[in-house]
Every structure is written in structure tokens, then in C-alpha cells.
């Protein structure tokens, strides 16, 4: 009973939400990219870049809001590399993603050295203010989910995104510019991942730490798959995975009943593999994701 209370209380709830927001927003970013047919395993790197830029901008301007804006903007710029390499030059999207993750990991620490002459943790900067019990990124993140659902299912643009990712040649045959839609979606994915990163660095904390995303970009990817590429699905999966992260922090309660924290950490990934294997309703990616579009070929 005591354990139960330790796990399920108000604080776990709010920490679940805090943990889930970056997963959710980055997963939505990944959703736009993959729904348009571009695999994005660089969410991790895009988040990391966003987290870093948020701190840098906040440091130099003194404004956390500008930091958030900068993270979103630069996330988009960073994603543009992925878009160029994989859309324009037909590169393997997975390879490009691996490269961007490396670039973000190396680039942030390099710049940390250049700008702040340190390699571990940045100086403390102005963080986003509290709005009631949470940081603004929490409310904005939830809003992003709602808006994304609306865009994807209730606007012409969303319809085109869904068409381009499933059957680009069909979209092309009715005059839709497949590459343009993909550019927009990949850039959008970077902007949202940048937002998610900013939530970590100037929302939850007020510093940037080397490698601070710690695999959250990949959990977001898992949430996207587990949520079957739907905005609310991704949100649900993020809340679930966020909950695991939250109780993992409340370690003692868990370890007391003999479940090591590491096993809790594995759950999102195991669930995702199970979902892909079709044990609990097959998770099927958009049909054309991962394939470069070449006009006139089928």
C-alpha cells in the first residue's frame, strides 16, 4: 500500500507530464517527417541541438523566450540538412540521421568549449518562468498535439502529407509537389524537436549538459511507433513512457519491491518491438517512408 502511494500520487502525475512533454513534442515532429515519407532517426540530435541553442540564446539575450524561439528556429535549420541530404540527394535517410546525431553530439560540446570554455555543463541561464504548476512548454506542448491532430486530419495540407507518405506517385499524379511537402515536414520535425530540447534545457533545468537528451529522441521515436503514427497515439505512448521515467526517479519505491530501475527503462523499447511484431495490433509505418521519390518511377 505504501509502495502504491509512493508511485501513484500527485507528484508522480506532474513529473509524468514533465517527462512526457519532450517525448510527445519530438514524437509529433517525427510523425510529420515519417508521415510525409522521410524516416527521421535524428530526433535525438535535433533535440540536443535545440536544447543547446535555447541555452545559448537565453545566455546572450537574457530572455528564455527568445531561447525557446531560437531552439525552434535552429531545430528547423538543422533539419534542413536532413531534408537536403535525403530529399535532394536521395541519401539513405537512416545514414543521414546517424550523421546528424553525431553532428549534434560533437557540435554542441565543441561549441560549449568555444563559447563557455567548458565541456561538461554550461553556465546557468534564465529559464522559462512557471505558469502555475508547470512551465509554459508543458501547456504549449499539449497545444501542439491538438493543433497537429487538426493539421493532419482537418486541413488540405494534412491530407497531402498523408498522401505523400503513403503513395507519392499518386500525389504527384494530381499535381502535388511531393518534394515540397517533404521539405516542409522535415523542417517542421526539426522545429518541434528543437522545442522539445528547449523544454529540457530551459524548461526543466536552466543549463545545458553534454548529451543531456540521453536517448529521449529515441524514446520519442518509440512513442511515435507505439502510437502508430497518430498524434494522440504518440501522446498516449509518451505519457506512458513518461510515467515509467517518473517512477524510475522514485527508485526506492520500485527497488523495494525488487524491480531494478534498469528494467523499467527497457519497457518503452520492448513494448515498441512487440508492437512492431504485431502481437498487440501491428504497427505499420507509412508505406513510402524511407524511400526517395523519383519522378516517373514506381
Amino acid at each position: 500500500m505504501e509502495i502504491f502511494q509512493q508511485i501513484f500520487n500527485l507528484e508522480t502525475f506532474s513529473s509524468t507530464l514533465r517527462m512526457a512533454i519532450p517525448l510527445m513534442v519530438a514524437a509529433i515532429g517525427g510523425m510529420f517527417s515519417e508521415r510525409s515519407g522521410v524516416v527521421n532517426i535524428a530526433l535525438e540530435g535535433m533535440m540536443l541541438a535545440g536544447a543547446f541553442i535555447a541555452v545559448v540564446v537565453s545566455y546572450f539575450t537574457g530572455s528564455a523566450w527568445l531561447g525557446l524561439l531560437g531552439a525552434v528556429f535552429f531545430g528547423g535549420v538543422f533539419a534542413l540538412i536532413h531534408a537536403l541530404v535525403s530529399i535532394r540527394y536521395h541519401a539513405d535517410q537512416v545514414v543521414s540521421g546517424v550523421a546528424l546525431n553525431l553532428l549534434a553530439a560533437g557540435g554542441t560540446v565543441f561549441l560549449l568549449n568555444i563559447l563557455f570554455n567548458t565541456s561538461g555543463t554550461s553556465p546557468s541561464v534564465t529559464a522559462l518562468p512557471y505558469w502555475g504548476p508547470f512551465k509554459p512548454t508543458v501547456y504549449l506542448g499539449l497545444l501542439i498535439v491538438l493543433i497537429s491532430h487538426y493539421i493532419l486530419f482537418f486541413t488540405p495540407f494534412g491530407l497531402r502529407v498523408r498522401a505523400v507518405g503513403e503513395h507519392p506517385h499518386a500525389a504527384d499524379s494530381v499535381g502535388i509537389d511531393v518534394e515540397k511537402i517533404r521539405y516542409v515536414c522535415v523542417i517542421l520535425s526539426g522545429m518541434l524537436a528543437g522545442f522539445a530540447g528547449a523544454h529540457l534545457s530551459i524548461g526543466v533545468l536552466s543549463v545545458f549538459r553534454e548529451g543531456m537528451t540521453a536517448g529521449r529522441g529515441f524514446i520519442a521515436l518509440a512513442a511515435l511507433i507505439f502510437g502508430k503514427w497518430y498524434p494522440f497515439g504518440a501522446m498516449g505512448a509518451s505519457l506512458l513512457f513518461g510515467f515509467f521515467q517518473a517512477i524510475e526517479i522514485r527508485l526506492q519505491g520500485i527497488e523495494a519491491i525488487g524491480i531494478p530501475a534498469e528494467f523499467i527503462q527497457m519497457i518503452p523499447y520492448i513494448l515498441t518491438v512487440i508492437a512492431l511484431a504485431g502481437v498487440i495490433g501491428r504497427a505499420t509505418p507509412p508505406a513510402a517512408s524511407g524511400e526517395p521519390f523519383e519522378k516517373g518511377k514506381r
Binding site: L84, V95, L103, A105, F110, V273
Partner: protein
């Protein structure tokens, strides 16, 4: 070793990687200048760190060793049309297994050494078995599943190393027995480097994989499936069987890479066991055109970079992460080879269906 292609193809094969390396170093130079450092001093220090003296060269080879294995991991799967992005996890699981089996007491070296190596290979292979089967039987994309298995391995390995094998409070597992040591060259040469016989094993494995892929029926079948699964099925070659086989061998290679770290370098399993060898392996395989000879050269390049980076930092003051940036840019350029083909107005490679 490159007897399977003629000289014109060979030139085409190496021109793109060379251009990619050149372009990345140009970008690296711009970054160095923009950050206010001296590029000549930077690259000079990098070179000196990597090759200045016997010890440095040995350390470069030591750094290249795991990359040979992880590069082969990626390349071998790729030859069967698969992208094994889970080399990191397979290496960790293999390394931990070696670090555990290596602690068994009272086993004669002649048994202990091969047993430990073999156990690491089996562990690496098992770690990729589920993605392999899911791919072969259900068509589940191996990229996502191997990524997921990477993260599962991080937690699993952390648990077993820290909470099961390590003494309480320690961040490393107990040292392995000398009967499971990979022999170090410093035993006979006057140097500090931990370069060990694992490097020679790497060279042998390079040759074995080359032989397996191009000189045996197994390789004939695996490559046929990688190029054209339909033509392979027509020729009585089971795509599913070869996909699983290729993935298991690929995983075993990563496991062996982990064994070299555990048995030759660290003599235990510890925090920070892998410097992202699995991911650098992707770059190595790409740059090496998925060919053992190319992988050897690419592993040397990345080994030299990672070995020279500290010296570069010390002498020229440039943060070591410049090397990571260079790696990333090299991958981007190799991946976007269409860029060079367009710039050089080379004809794009023929694609299927033309």
C-alpha cells in the same frame, strides 16, 4: 584483395570516399579558423598524436581495432541488403559476456581464451536474433528494431555489470583471469600502448569475411539476396534463411569487437566501455564501401582521428569534439554521393529496372 572488381570500377569506388574525406577536412578547416585556431597546428598535432612514434601508432591501431569489427558488422549485413544499426548493443552485450566468462577461474588458457571469444560472439549473435527473425519472417524493418535493442542493451548491460557482477560501489566488473587475456604487444615492445593481439584477430577476421563473402557459396547466396531477393529465390536461394544467417554473423562480429575491449584493453567491463564504436562502425562501413579492404583503411582513419584528438586538444587547444564533427560530415558527404556525382557530372549508377 580487390580482385573482384576491375580498375575502372575501383577508381569509381574510391573517388567518392576520397572526395568526401577531402570535403569534410575543408569544412573542418573552416570551423577551426572560425573558432580562432590555427588549422596547420591543429592538423599537425592531430597527425603527431596519431602517428608520432611507436606508442602513438600502436594506440591508433588499438583505436582502430573495434572499428574494424563494427565496420564489418554493418558491412556484412549490408551485403545481404540489411542495415544493422544495432552494432553498439551487440558489442556491449558481447563485451559484458566476455568480461563475465573471462572471470572463470582455473580454466586453462587454451580453452579459456577461445571459449571467451566464442561466448562473446554467440552473445552478439543472440542479441540480433529477434530483429533478424522479425525481418525474415514478418518483414519488420531491422533499423527500428535494432535501435530499440540498442537501448534495451544499455539498461540490461548496466544492470548486470553494476548490480550483478561488480562489487558494490564499484563501476566496473572484477578483472578477468590472465588465462583469458589477449596478449599485449607491450609484453615484448618498449611501449605503453595496450595494443593487443585482438588487432591481429581483426585483420584475420577481415580476411575471413572477405573470403566468406566472395569465395564461398555462403557469400554467393548472401550477396545474391542482398542484390536481388527475387533472383535469389529463382535460383533456389532462400532469402529468409540468408537474412537470418547474415544478421547473426553480423551480430557475432560486433560481439567479437566487444571481446577485444574486455579481454585486451580493459580486462573487465566498465562504465563507458564503448566510445560509440557501433555507430562509428556505420561510418567506417560507408566510407569503406562495405568492402573489407576499405573498412580496414576507414577504421585506420577513424582510429587515427580518435587517437590524435587528445594531442590536438593539448597542443592546439581545439576541443576534441572536432573529430566527431568531422566524422559526421564525412558520413553526410558519403551518403549524399549524388552531390559529387552531379558535381562531377558522373552518370548516376544504374538502378534496378533500367
Amino acid at each position: 584483395m580487390a580482385g573482384d572488381m576491375n580498375s575502372k570500377e575501383l577508381l569509381k569506388e574510391i573517388s567518392i570516399p576520397l572526395l568526401a574525406i577531402l570535403s569534410s577536412f575543408i569544412i573542418g578547416t573552416l570551423i577551426v579558423i572560425a573558432s580562432g585556431y590555427d588549422p596547420i597546428a591543429t592538423y599537425g598535432a592531430l597527425l603527431q598524436g596519431a602517428f608520432g612514434g611507436l606508442n602513438s601508432i600502436a594506440d591508433t591501431l588499438l583505436a582502430a581495432t573495434p572499428l574494424i569489427f563494427t565496420g564489418l558488422t554493418v558491412a556484412f549485413a549490408y551485403r545481404c541488403g540489411l542495415f544493422n544499426i544495432g552494432g553498439e548493443g551487440q558489442l556491449l552485450v558481447g563485451g559484458l559476456t566476455a568480461a563475465w566468462i573471462g572471470t572463470f577461474k582455473g580454466v586453462p588458457m587454451i580453452i579459456h581464451l577461445p571459449l571467451t571469444l566464442l561466448a562473446a560472439m554467440v552473445a552478439g549473435a543472440l542479441w540480433v536474433a529477434i530483429p533478424a527473425i522479425l525481418k525474415a519472417k514478418l518483414g519488420v524493418h531491422e533499423v527500428i528494431t535494432t535501435i530499440m535493442f540498442n537501448y534495451i542493451s544499455y539498461s540490461l548491460v548496466a544492470y548486470f555489470s553494476l548490480k550483478v557482477l561488480a562489487k558494490p560501489g564499484s563501476i566496473q566488473t572484477p578483472d578477468i583471469e590472465p588465462s583469458a587475456y589477449l596478449w599485449r604487444f607491450s609484453n615484448v615492445l618498449d611501449m605503453y600502448s595496450y595494443l593487443n593481439i585482438g588487432f591481429l584477430i581483426g585483420l584475420i577476421v577481415l580476411f575471413v569475411i572477405y573470403y566468406l563473402l566472395w569465395k564461398t557459396t555462403i557469400g554467393y547466396e548472401i550477396r545474391a539476396v542482398g542484390i536481388s531477393p527475387d533472383a535469389a529465390e529463382y535460383g533456389g536461394i532462400s532469402a529468409a534463411r540468408n537474412i537470418i544467417l547474415a544478421m547473426l554473423i553480423s551480430g557475432a562480429l560486433a560481439g567479437l569487437g566487444g571481446a577485444e575491449r574486455a579481454m585486451g584493453l580493459f580486462h573487465n567491463y566498465r562504465n563507458g566501455f564503448s566510445a560509440e564504436y557501433g555507430f562509428t562502425g556505420i561510418a567506417v562501413a560507408l566510407l569503406g564501401r562495405n568492402h573489407p579492404l576499405g573498412i580496414f583503411l576507414a577504421a585506420l582513419l577513424f582510429g587515427a582521428l580518435s587517437n590524435g584528438q587528445d594531442y590536438m586538444n593539448m597542443l592546439a587547444g581545439v576541443p576534441v569534439d572536432l573529430v566527431t564533427i568531422l566524422q559526421a560530415v564525412i558520413i553526410l558527404f558519403v551518403a549524399a554521393d549524388l552531390l559529387f556525382r552531379r558535381v562531377l557530372a558522373l552518370k548516376p549508377e544504374g538502378r534496378k529496372g533500367e
